[in-house]
């Protein structure tokens, strides 16, 4: 009985202390933004490895998600003679939900894990410690540019995901399945509101970008400096990011889209 209580207590304290460390770490990272912006070349390199290299997987999945969505939506809607609403279905589900969420999940797998492994390995090989020896703040020099690059890249990737997915849905729906092109686009344009749907979708992906990159860099920086520790940190980074994105998505959807 007491043992169980002790375990629960220890777990709670453990969780609280790692949350506290993560928050302090975040404060330090954000404090480094100014010095990073003064040296944009560092940021540029990270934007390349975090953003540009993720483009391929985002483009590829966007096209297939849009096509599948259009195909399944058509099969259901045609029973009710409502296939002219296919454009609305595809665009709203991509803009409100699938665009931000799927690109965040893909991003955490493609870029977040790489960030964690990179920072974790730098720590394991004592590169971070040697930087500190040279009076270079490793958080400002290494972590902040990566954090910032993630926060900039993911919203851009999400927007690319949304619009490519909608065009892929159009290809399947209109060109292949023969939904009237005019009603596909005009119904979409009359139902999708830029200031409401698109802006909220982009805000969603900004929140996801912040959380996913934060988890990734923190897991890397907090990793045990062994090969096992780095591998565990990489796994944790992807798992925690996925859980955080899905849970936050529910909360954000409830706030934004439920009247």
């Amino acid at each position: 009985m007491l043992d169980t209580l002790q375990r629960i207590g220890a777990f709670t304290l453990d969780t609280l202390s790692s949350l506290g460390r993560a928050s302090l770490f975040l404060v330090q990272v954000i404090a480094g933004i100014k010095s990073t912006l003064l040296r944009p070349r560092l940021l540029l390199r990270e934007l390349y490895s975090v953003g540009v290299l993720s483009l391929l997987i985002i483009i590829f999945s966007a096209i297939f998600v849009g096509m599948v969505l259009s195909l399944l939506g058509y099969v259901t809607l045609v029973d009710f003679g409502a296939e002219s609403s296919l454009g609305v279905l595809v665009s709203l589900s991509l803009i409100r939900e699938l665009g931000p969420v799927l690109s965040a999940l893909l991003f955490s797998g493609r870029a977040g894990s790489a960030l964690t492994a990179e920072i974790g390995l730098m720590k394991a090989t004592e590169q971070l410690a040697s930087m500190e020896m040279m009076a270079v703040d490793p958080i400002h020099r290494i972590v902040t540019p990566r954090f910032l690059a993630g926060c900039i890249s993911l919203p851009l990737l999400s927007v690319i995901f949304m619009s490519l997915g909608i065009y892929a849905g159009y290809l399947v729906g209109s060109v292949w399945l023969g939904v009237d092109e005019g009603s596909f686009w005009s119904q979409m344009q009359s139902k999708v509101e830029f200031g409401y749907d698109v802006i909220n979708g982009v805000i969603k992906s900004m929140v996801f970008a912040f959380v996913v990159t934060w988890i990734a860099v923190f897991q890397g920086y907090n990793a045990m400096p062994t090969s096992e520790g780095v591998s565990r940190a990489t796994t944790n980074s992807v798992v925690y990011s996925a859980l955080a994105v899905l849970a936050l998505d529910f909360i954000l959807t409830a706030i934004m889209f439920v009247k």
Partner: protein, 154 residues
């Protein structure tokens, strides 16, 4: 230097691609006209029954969309629903005795307000109220009346 230039070009391409996608969304996929919804003017109309009318429903003039419903509330003095709607600023020539009716688009579609211009010289301005209204048709009421008229024939 060569590889740094390549990285810069690719990052530039990435950012441009993202912004282009946003512009496509703004112009092609969504209707940016909704951003201008803070322009225009608001009028109100009183209905006995608004049925399934919702805020953000369309307001049409001969089928042309000219505005949106901004709010629906209940007036405890007259026991009627008050629907406020915002009309586009270029629709400034509606006579004061314009009639507002609530219709349903299609069999299962959503409800919208249709305006039919009257013949007065005075025009509707910001804050004016439409007095001639026709409430939403509630299916149960229609069926009830039909049942009464069918059974009373005997």
């Amino acid at each position: 230097m060569g590889s740094s230039r390549k990285i810069e070009i690719l990052v530039g391409l990435f950012v441009v691609l993202g912004l282009a996608a946003l512009v496509v969304m703004a112009l092609n996929i969504s209707n940016l006209t909704s951003l201008s919804s803070d322009k225009g003017y608001t009028i109100t109309a009183r209905f006995d029954n608004v049925g399934g009318l919702r805020p953000r429903a369309k307001v049409t003039l001969s089928g042309v969309s000219v505005g949106r419903v901004t709010g629906i509330s209940y007036d405890r003095e007259t026991f009627q629903a008050v629907v406020s709607m915002r009309l586009n600023p270029d629709i400034d020539y509606l006579p004061e005795d314009t009639q507002a009716s609530i219709y349903t688009s299609g069999l299962l579609g959503e409800q919208y307000i249709s305006l039919e211009p009257g013949a007065e010289d005075e025009v509707l301005k910001d804050g004016s109220s439409i007095t001639l209204t026709q409430s939403a048709v509630v299916l149960e009421e229609v069926i009830g009346k039909l049942m009464v008229s069918l059974t009373s024939k005997n």
